[in-house]
């Protein structure tokens, strides 16, 4: 029998590079085909990319959470009718048409996943990170949430129940993390800087005020 190649690290690396350029060519070819057919305005693609690179991202959600921490009436509205409360701050649209906000407490921690694809609240968090769309997270979040949290460096008290929300329909979930101690008296803007993307998916906690000043 033939021996396998001795060291395949370089080979794999070269393959990965080729693979990327294969996808580059494949996407270019498809784009030019669909543009030439008249189905797509390439300027629209530019505008879509620019929107999600520079305009719509997790700072939207951080503003929502900071307001909920600061304004009890807004917090109640957010938990009752998240779509309307979030729209009042100007965050609407694609993959945020039907929003639900779920609030963490000492007793219960919320974690959001889409086991079937990549459903994610774009209007408040932007594009999902790659891990959110990938098999390791999608497979394990529902069966081993505490193990998943540990991988993100989060250890909750043993008494804290974990509630996982699998986004199987068109509802999109935003986690309201717990407001950190020592953040009393901070402005909404300063509070928003404590709110990480991961904390709004439920795989992280809000930053401590001491961590945010740097």
């Amino acid at each position: 029998m033939d021996e396998p190649p001795p060291d395949n690290h370089d080979h794999d690396h070269a393959h990965a590079d080729n693979h990327l350029s294969e996808m580059d060519l494949r996407v270019r070819a498809l784009e030019s085909l669909l543009v030439e057919k008249g189905y797509v305005d390439p300027g629209a693609i530019d505008a879509i990319v620019e929107t999600y690179e520079t305009k719509v991202g997790p700072r939207n959600g951080a503003a929502v959470v900071a307001k909920a921490w600061s304004d009890p009436a807004f917090r109640d509205w957010l938990l009752r009718d998240a779509t309307a409360a979030i729209a009042s701050l100007g965050f609407t649209g694609r993959q945020g048409e039907h929003m639900v906000a779920v609030e963490n407490s000492a007793d219960e921690h919320n974690l959001v996943v889409c086991t079937l694809c990549s459903c994610y609240p774009w209007s408040v968090l932007g594009l999902p990170p790659t891990w959110y769309k990938s098999p390791p997270y999608r497979s394990r979040a529902v069966i081993d949430p505490r193990g998943v949290l540990a991988e993100f460096g989060v250890t909750l008290p043993a008494a804290t129940r974990i509630r996982v929300w699998d986004s199987t329909a068109e509802l999109r979930y935003l986690v309201v993390p717990r407001r950190p101690e020592g953040s009393e008296g901070m402005s909404e803007e300063a509070l928003a800087a404590l709110v990480t993307r991961d904390s709004m998916i439920g795989v992280g906690l809000a930053r401590q005020p001491s961590e945010a000043t740097s």
Partner: protein, 219 residues
């Protein structure tokens, strides 16, 4: 369908590759793949349900070894061919060989901001009263359709409790296959982790799905 997309509860995929919050794309082609997929979706040539079904219909080995934007592009190629917008030969050779097909609309650059901000709501007027209310005990049906469904395998034939009632929404199992929207009530159904995964699961943990009414029966 029982495809590779239905990942809940599977094992062996390894560690989660976390990434920083400001990391949006890993290559230029990912940007074009994302924008192209959305721009083609905006032509109205297929529903979001049909596009999800095109992705989950990839060969399982292909699905699991593809990055998510690769899955999107492979799905987009299939949909474009299936809808007669392009031929497979045109995709393979990257050259136009046939006349364009009529499409409903083209998304222009100047309309992108408004279209993205509007989104595509999929709630619809209910045609009947909701069968279930919060607190009702239900059991998910044991269904294994060849076509599209949003009831994951791990949550089939399981007892849960109605947690929230969300209104009527387009039914993906029908809409993905040209069956029309057939709106149904959608409920958040909460299951104990032990109901889903057995006695080894932590007692207090729970998992919920959002389920269309026809996925459920009274328990």
């Amino acid at each position: 369908m029982n495809g590779a997309q239905d990942l809940g509860g599977m094992m062996g995929f390894g560690a989660i590759a976390t990434e920083p919050e400001d990391h949006r794309f890993h290559a230029e082609w990912e940007k074009r793949a994302m924008g192209l997929t959305i721009a083609m979706g905006a032509t109205g040539s297929w529903s979001i349900d049909a596009s999800r079904h095109a992705r989950e219909s990839l060969d399982p080995a292909d699905y699991l070894s593809s990055s998510y934007y690769e899955i999107w592009i492979k799905g987009l190629e299939r949909l474009s061919v299936a809808q007669g917008l392009v031929t497979q030969e045109e995709v393979d050779h990257g050259r136009v060989a046939t006349a364009p097909a009529p499409i409903k609309r083209v998304l222009r650059r100047d309309d992108v901001a408004a279209v993205l901000a509007r989104g595509s709501p999929c709630d619809r007027p209910a045609t009947a009263a909701a069968v279930f209310k919060p607190g009702d005990q239900v059991r998910t049906r044991n269904i294994n359709p060849m076509g599209h469904t949003r009831l994951p395998r791990y949550a089939r034939a399981k007892k849960g409790v109605i947690d929230r009632v969300h209104g009527a929404f387009v039914f993906p199992d029908a809409n993905a296959h040209g069956g029309g929207e057939q709106p149904q009530w959608v409920y958040t159904v909460r299951f104990s982790a032990r109901q889903l995964w057995g006695e080894a699961a932590e007692a207090g943990h729970s998992v919920s799905i959002d389920a269309w009414e026809s996925y459920l029966e009274r328990a």
